[in-house]
Amino acid sequence: MAFRLKLVPAHTKIDFFRWQRGTFGFSVLMVLVSFALIFSIGLNFGIDFRGGTTIRTETVTAIDVGSYRSAVAPLGLGDVSITEVFDPTFGADKHVAMIRIQAQEGAESATPELVAAVEAALKAADPAVVFASVESVGPKVSGELIQTALLAVFGATAAILFYIWLRFEWQYAVGAVAALVHDVVVTVGLFAVLQLKFDLSIIAALLTILGYSINDTVVVFDRLRENLVKYKVMPLREVMNISVNETLSRTVMTSGTTLIALIALLVLGGDVIRGFVFAMTWGVVVGTYSSVFVAKNIVLYLGVNREPRKPAAGPEAEGFDAVP
């Protein structure tokens, strides 16, 4: 018998419903808290969503944010935020700051004069400064971007709801979508608490979380569907437990490999995509949790029609060779 790394023993008999009031209640609470935070603290929207200009500066000496601030202040640009960026991938002589300027009254996008004035002011404060990127989004586009982003998230959720309903039954679809809503809301809530920049790439991350979370949920559901045929008289709750236990090894393995890859990117991938990768990493954790503790609790609550369906469902009835 060769050595095998076993993260999960071959036969587990964990009762995932033992603390179901606690876990499910915790999830509901987290969703509510997230909503409260999103509406009270609000999100730290990036310029994609509220317009404005961001300038990324790089310099060789340590940055004195105060001197930058006093350099830009006389220009009277309204709300200007200056933050220093720290990253393990930066060398000792690399110091980065992000400067965000609010959208100016009546301007569709930053005027070249405005950017030039800010750049000149910063050059005066720190002659070695270079401008690695300058991005500017007008308020007109930012409004549309919000709309498109929301549409994308709702569209994806609706499409998944429909597909699961088609392939399984409506109870599964409701369970799966509840899990998805949970994942998205809790992730957005975390962004509100930490006041991380919320921009278009985070929407992309949210959609990816949707995809990942549903992936996980479907695997559990698929096994549940199979086991319901196998154990015809066993209570639904037991069958669910068996199904989750049987797929547990796979769940841990897949989440593990995905997390390893993401954490590598989180630590080594640089600060530009850190927010994006952070959302995704968190999403994998929440997505895994929700497929075990949210999706099936709802299915259990709704109940499943256990009368055998006439046509054997799905491609498992077909062999490998039948797949073109």
């Binding site: 990127s133 994308a152 992309a204 890859a261 490998f320």
Partner: protein
């Protein structure tokens, strides 16, 4: 039983081979890029310099040379989203119509009375007439100025909508004409921008129409968005020059006050021209695709009064001579002057097809931007930032890959090795397909690939776990493998289709970097399902056929 027919094995191996071969150029990115650039530059110029030949030789011609395009965020460059002020054109049209209408009405002053222009919104022409009783007559006169709209949807409609309001004639562009005008304006703007950007010779600029009135411009390698705006803002240099000589020698020494420009129509042909144009593009008011009296495609054009006089005088004196139409130091066409052209409008005949006459008309109109543009979005990304991101991304991908491989081999032994080989082929396929379809790799795209590394093993894990389970019920290893695949299939299919759905929506709704991410995710899903189902299985089968093990351990 555990069988894969020979043709299928060949097909699977062929796909893998395709992936590896078409991904290979990306490993030598700099060299292949130099090779491709040299070929492009040489084709454009019509000859090849020594440095270009050297660059071309650095990568064998017979190997595939498709590369993954690097997005703006990785290569650095500028991004602009411009909104074309379409209403500017309506206003210009109405302003141009006013003198014409005044003249037409003045001819019948006795009936309609004195006319004057009343204040109105831009894009509307209001003319007050002295004798409101003669309104019907005045409308008739105005209606004579309208011409039918030539477009697919606007057939049978006139270009002007004319109505009466009290003692005022109200003229606007008709709905059909507005649509046609908008399209013309957008087409013209795109064409001008494309020419301006191509002139600086950067690689793979993106110039796209977005929605009804927007243009997305992405130019890698350019210093800043301001530079790009300056480039777009400059007007085209259009001129009508007298032709002095024609020849094939590009390096002939032009005389004083002469210039030598290449022909666009015929490569290798050069014209010696008078350096001073007779008329310039600034004096052109319109150009449209048309047909000559024999029904052959041609281009009709019109000058403003000053241009018309100069043009008329010159053509009267030089019948039978060649007249070169020069755009940005290139001779677009050099027709023979067939007759004196008074009145400032004329027709260019030549070896045209309907398509080429349309293009020429666009180019002629493309002298200056037809309407003002406002910039809704401006982004400048420095080249170093992009390089840093590529470096960080590749290191992360390597580390992620090594960790996943270790994890897989430690958990599944030999089967983990199979999955690792499949993962390698998967990566090759992703890059191969992206290169083949000319896909763009963006920073989130790299994240998409890293995510795929993590998730690609999922299908394998599903199968391996299933085989483990089947082995417990012990019906021999071959049967266990077969059942493992069969039973894992529905989970694999459902899981990946749902991910595919979200990636598709991401692709449709997203733009720029986000879209780049969606593409890598879509390609990644397809290739990881393929490698997990076919490649791993084939590897397993080949191993199984060789060894015929009595028992297996997964």
């Amino acid at each position: 039983m555990l069988q894969i027919p020979m043709w299928k094995r060949v097909l699977i191996l062929a796909v893998c081979l395709f992936g590896i071969v078409s991904a290979a150029p990306n490993l030598f990115y700099g060299r292949v890029e130099a090779h491709n650039d040299a070929i492009a530059a040489a084709t454009k110029a019509g000859f090849e310099t020594e440095a270009q030949a050297e660059a071309r030789a650095s990568w064998p011609d017979w190997l595939p040379a498709g590369l993954v395009n690097l997005g703006l965020d990785l290569r650095g460059g500028a991004h602009l989203l411009a909104e074309v002020q379409l209403a500017d054109v309506y206003k210009a049209r109405m302003d141009a119509l006013w003198p014409e209408l005044r003249q037409a009405l003045a001819a019948e002053r006795a009936t309609v009375g004195a006319v004057r222009r009343a204040p109105s919104d831009p894009g509307t022409l209001r003319v007050q007439i002295g004798e409101p009783a003669a309104m019907t007559r005045a409308l008739e006169i105005a209606a004579r100025l309208a011409t039918p709209v030539v477009s697919l949807t606007g057939i049978g409609q006139n270009d002007l909508a004319i109505s009466a309001e009290g003692d005022q004639i109200v003229v606007t562009l008709s709905e059909a004409e507005m649509v046609a005008t908008d399209n013309r304006t957008m087409q013209q703007s795109l064409e001008i921008i494309r020419r301006r950007v191509d002139e600086v010779g950067t690689r793979e600029p993106t110039i796209q129409r977005q929605g009804s009135d927007r243009i997305l411009i992405q130019v890698p390698g350019i210093g800043s968005a301001d530079e790009l705006k300056a480039l777009i803002g400059t007007t085209a240099q259009l001129g009508f020059h007298p032709v002095l000589a024609r020849g094939a020698n590009a390096n002939a020494l032009p005389g004083v006050g002469q210039v030598i420009y290449p022909s666009v129509e015929e490569s290798g042909l050069f014209y010696t021209l008078d350096a001073v144009p007779v008329v310039t593009g600034e004096e052109l008011t319109d150009a449209r695709p048309d047909f000559d009296q024999n029904g052959r495609p041609a281009v009709s054009f019109r000058f403003n009064p000053a241009g018309a006089r100069k043009f008329g005088d010159y053509t009267a004196a030089n019948i039978g001579q060649l007249f070169a139409i020069v755009l940005d130091h290139e001779v677009i066409s050099a027709p023979v002057i067939q007759s004196h052209i008074p009145g400032g409008s004329g027709i260019i005949t030549g070896n045209f097809t309907v398509e080429s006459s349309t293009n020429l008309a666009v180019l002629l109109r493309a002298g200056a931007l037809p309407a003002k543009m406002t910039f809704l979005e401006e982004r400048t990304i420095g080249p170093e930032l992009g390089q840093d991101s590529i470096d960080a991304g590749s290191i992360a991908a390597m580390v992620g890959m090594v960790a996943v491989v270790f994890f897989m081999v430690a958990s599944y032994g030999l089967f983990g090795v199979f999955a690792t080989v499949a993962l390698g082929i998967n990566m090759a396929l992703i890059f191969g397909i992206l290169s083949a379809i000319g896909g763009t790799l963006t920073l989130p795209g790299i994240a998409g690939i890293v995510l795929t590394i993590g998730m690609a093993v999922d299908a394998n894990v599903l199968v391996f776990e299933r085989i483990r389970e089947e082995l417990r019920t012990a019906r021999g290893p071959a049967r266990a493998i077969e059942l493992g695949y069969e039973k894992a299939m529905s989970a694999i299919v459902d899981a990946n289709i749902t991910t595919f759905i979200t990636a598709t929506i991401l692709f449709l709704a997203g733009s720029g970097p986000v879209r780049g991410f969606a593409i890598t995710l879509l390609v990644g899903i397809a290739t990881s399902v393929f490698t997990a189902i076919y490649v791993t299985r084939l590897l397993m089968l080949i191993w199984f056929e060789r060894r015929r093990p009595k028992t297996i351990t997964v």
